[in-house]
């Protein structure tokens, strides 16, 4: 019924697509590796001086940028298919964003913007951009680190940390509420953000009610070390 010729041609086309996938797999595997090292480098933030951790974490940025350059090279050749292969780098990208946003907040107390994240990763927007959803999920990922961070900071004696984090998360939370989230992945992560905020509010409450907050000097996370 003439099916065979058509399927032969499909096979050729699928072989080509598989070749792209192999290239993507390899680029993403580098990205994955660098991200994992960056993550491991940042983790001691919970018990050691944050300065060192951030510095060490940032040292993996060139490797990460290189991996994105490879991804860019592959996708640039087929610009309309960015989302066809999106799943390959989606998870890693969300982790990268969360690590960058966490470091940025630790250093400046500010939220890393979408544009700044793209710049930090040296993405050329017209060839390979940072998907907005991935950026937002990355922010939620970061937020889920904060309750643990606050707990450990309080143990280290930084009693003003809960208030600062509570204000930051509260701002982030009301910013997210500006978005009309559908019933999707992002909405679930946003519910997580609410939970993180609640956690931090409870820690703030613990500190406040014991009078540990008043009269202490407020410092940036850095300074408390």
């Amino acid at each position: 019924c003439g099916a065979m010729e058509q399927f032969e041609s499909f096979r050729a086309e699928m072989d080509a697509s598989n070749a792209v996938r192999e290239q993507l797999r390899s680029a993403v595997s580098e990205l994955d590796n660098a991200t994992r090292l960056m993550n491991a480098a940042l983790l001691p933030i919970h018990h050691s001086s944050s300065g060192d951790s951030i510095k060490k974490a940032k040292s993996y940025l060139p490797e990460i940028r290189k991996a994105y350059m490879e991804l860019t090279a592959i996708i640039k050749a087929r610009p309309e298919e960015y989302y066809k292969y999106h799943d390959y780098w989606r998870n890693q990208t969300q982790v990268v964003v969360s690590l960058l946003a966490f470091s940025h907040w630790l250093e400046t107390g500010d939220l890393l913007s979408h544009a700044d994240a793209q710049e930090l990763l040296e993405l050329k927007k017209e060839d390979f951009f940072l998907d907005l959803d991935d950026y937002l999920v990355g922010l939620c990922n970061m937020s889920s680190e904060l309750p643990r961070y606050v707990v450990n900071q309080v143990v280290a004696g930084a009693y003003d940390c809960p208030e600062r984090v509570s204000l930051f998360l509260s701002d982030l939370y009301s910013a997210f509420r500006l978005l009309n989230l559908r019933n999707d992945h992002l909405r679930k992560r946003f519910d997580g953000l609410k939970y993180d905020l609640k956690k931090v509010e409870e820690i703030l409450y613990d500190v406040k009610i014991r009078g540990l907050l008043t009269g202490k000097e407020s410092k940036t996370p850095e300074e408390t070390k």
Binding site: G2, A3, F7, P79, E80, Y83, H114, R182
Partner: protein
């Protein structure tokens, strides 16, 4: 000493108005982007649902086919199919251009697969042949996307659609066996689905879409075996007595 009151002030300020939130304006930008995509996706989901519903109706029309009404039914089905294309597939096309085709694909894939199923089942009933992807896309050349480019079905949706086609053909084969005739019709369906199945076995599927496909190929084999068994049982019964007796 310095920042503590500052924070407190920030908090009070926040309490009366959210406008001071440092990154609200950025998030308002994000909201615009998300809203645009979401509205587009909503429209696509609705259009896709309509494509599905009306394609299914075309398939139902085909299932009302029998030896006496063949031409009329096929003609009707073709007309209905063209109507689905003009009224609903065109609504899908209008929403997707460039990078959004793949971004929003999940929203309209189900509809397009059902459309493929309907188009190929009609073609089979008319000509006994497989409507190729190229032929299908030629028939869509009048359907333009937002930038005026002709909309087209991609390989994945085409393959998933014709995988389901085998299920409908199985129903047709059983029907024609059930109507007490159709040894020849069933044999034609058998050969057609065998060829389809062999074609599918030639392909291999990447991990992501692969799972869907593997399952569909299994279902396809089940349909094929049912068709073959139908042919078999008609055959052994037909072989038991000389044809002369049966015809008498």
């Amino acid at each position: 000493m310095l920042r503590a009151p500052l924070f407190a002030a920030t908090k009070r300020a926040m309490s009366t108005s959210t406008a001071t939130n440092a990154f609200h304006s950025r998030f308002q930008q994000y909201a615009l982007q998300l809203d645009a995509t979401n509205e587009r996706r909503e429209r696509l989901v609705k259009a896709s649902r309509d494509v599905t519903i009306h394609s299914k109706k075309v398939i139902f029309v085909i299932h009302r086919l029998n030896d006496s009404n063949r031409d009329k039914i096929v003609e009707q089905a073709e007309k209905d199919l063209a109507a689905v294309r003009d009224a609903h597939v065109s609504r899908v096309a209008r929403e997707v251009e460039g990078v959004d085709y793949w971004k929003l694909k999940r929203a309209f894939s189900p509809g397009m697969q059902e459309f493929v199923e309907a188009a190929t089942v009609v073609e089979f009933c008319k000509t006994g042949k497989l409507l190729t992807l190229q032929q299908l896309n030629s028939s869509l050349c009048g359907v333009k996307d937002a930038s005026g480019v002709s909309f087209s079905v991609d390989i994945d949706d085409y393959l998933l659609g014709i995988a389901d086609l085998s299920g409908e053909l199985m129903r047709l084969a059983v029907s024609s066996a059930a109507s007490g005739q159709g040894l020849e019709a069933s044999a034609r369906i058998r050969g057609f689905v065998q060829a389809l199945y062999e074609g599918f076995c030639l392909l291999f599927y990447n991990v992501d879409g692969g799972r869907d496909m593997t399952k569909k190929v299994e279902v396809m084999l089940q349909s094929l075996v049912k068709i073959e068994t139908t042919c078999y049982s008609m055959h052994v019964r037909g072989s038991e007595y000389p044809a002369s007796i049966v015809d008498s």
